[in-house]
């Protein structure tokens, strides 16, 4: 009986640690902190290896580095820690009450209205990887996802029509955001900047990126570094439904 309790405690503690590490890694993935985090993981691995091998001098140096690195960690990640703590209180819990179908419907409507008029559109829908870096590069909006607002934003010759929009949860987080262009040499040379930006963002994050071409009015979706061209309304809705709700049973990959 005592053994079972010990095992259960061990299992629970490991699960809590797993959840915490996963949260930190996912949170850091969309930010500049990912490189620092990689460094920390490498130093920790070296620390463990030197300890196992019994290299006492090296281990002593690592111990001292660790003591200093706590302070350095707090300074380097000051912004991220503040944002993360604020998010725990605000955001993640509301995800259970999202009305995905409404959001998808608003996005799809905006896409096809703009497609008819051959007006370009670029929307990144945030999933697990945070898009804070890209939100920071644009103008904060924090408004409910609404097709009229999306159309207004992308109307040419308005201040926010350049760049992309980030949809985070059920809100339009920012517009005029700059996304990284794909560096993939295999990508067709005829592909425009908007599509390259969509591909670039989808390569770096797990976001769903919807693009409307200014030239052809074609609607495309980029995910995981792959672009699917010329979707009709039903296909776009189906793709968004499947990808925006990952726990859905009939989900499939594109």
């Amino acid at each position: 009986m005592d053994n079972y309790t010990t095992l259960a405690k061990m299992f629970t503690e490991i699960c809590i640690l797993w959840f915490a590490y996963y949260g930190i890694l996912i949170f850091a993935r969309g930010t500049r902190g990912v490189y620092v985090l990689r460094g920390i993981i490498l130093i920790t691995a070296l620390f463990i290896i030197t300890k196992l091998l019994g290299f006492e001098i090296i281990n002593w140096i690592f111990t001292k580095i660790f003591a200093l690195s706590v302070l350095a960690f707090l300074i380097i990640f000051q912004q991220e820690i503040r944002r993360g703590l604020a998010n725990i209180g605000q955001r993640r819990w509301t995800i259970f009450f999202l009305k995905e179908s409404e959001i998808i419907n608003e996005i799809t409507t905006a896409c096809f209205l703009l497609s008819k008029r051959k007006i370009g559109l670029l929307i990144a829908i945030e999933r697990e990887t945070r898009l804070e870096n890209y939100i920071e590069s644009g103008v904060e909006i924090d408004a409910k996802v609404n097709s009229e607002l999306l159309i207004t934003i992308f109307t040419p010759n308005t201040p926010l029509h350049d760049g992309g929009i980030v949809v985070s949860g059920e809100r339009i987080a920012a517009s005029g955001c700059l996304f990284p262009l794909t560096q993939n040499p295999k990508v067709s040379a005829t592909l425009g900047t908007r599509h390259r930006a969509a591909l670039g963002l989808s390569e770096e994050t797990d976001a769903i990126v919807v693009v409307v071409s200014e030239e052809t009015g074609g609607v495309s979706v980029a995910i995981g570094g792959r672009l699917t061209h010329d979707l009709d309304r039903e296909s776009l809705e189906r793709v968004l439904n499947n990808l925006y709700r990952p726990d859905k049973k009939n989900s499939k990959k594109i």
Binding site: Y21, L25, P246
Partner: protein
């Protein structure tokens, strides 16, 4: 369910490895600390038994 496992699979694996390493490392440290505390306690008892005058110094 399938997507839930596949999404960010390598991050999940990495975080699990880190969690297991952390748990075993901290557990080992805690055991060592307990053993050291026990040894200190026992050695102080032994020294008291071997040298009873150590504790009971006559008051001046």
């Amino acid at each position: 369910m399938n997507n839930w496992i596949i999404n960010n699979f390598w991050i999940k694996v990495l975080s699990l490895i880190l969690a297991v390493i952390t748990w075993f490392y901290v557990n080992e440290e805690l055991i060592r600390e307990k053993q050291m505390a026990k040894q200190l306690y026992e050695s102080s008892i032994v020294s008291q038994i071997q040298n009873p005058s150590y504790e009971k110094k006559p008051a001046k």
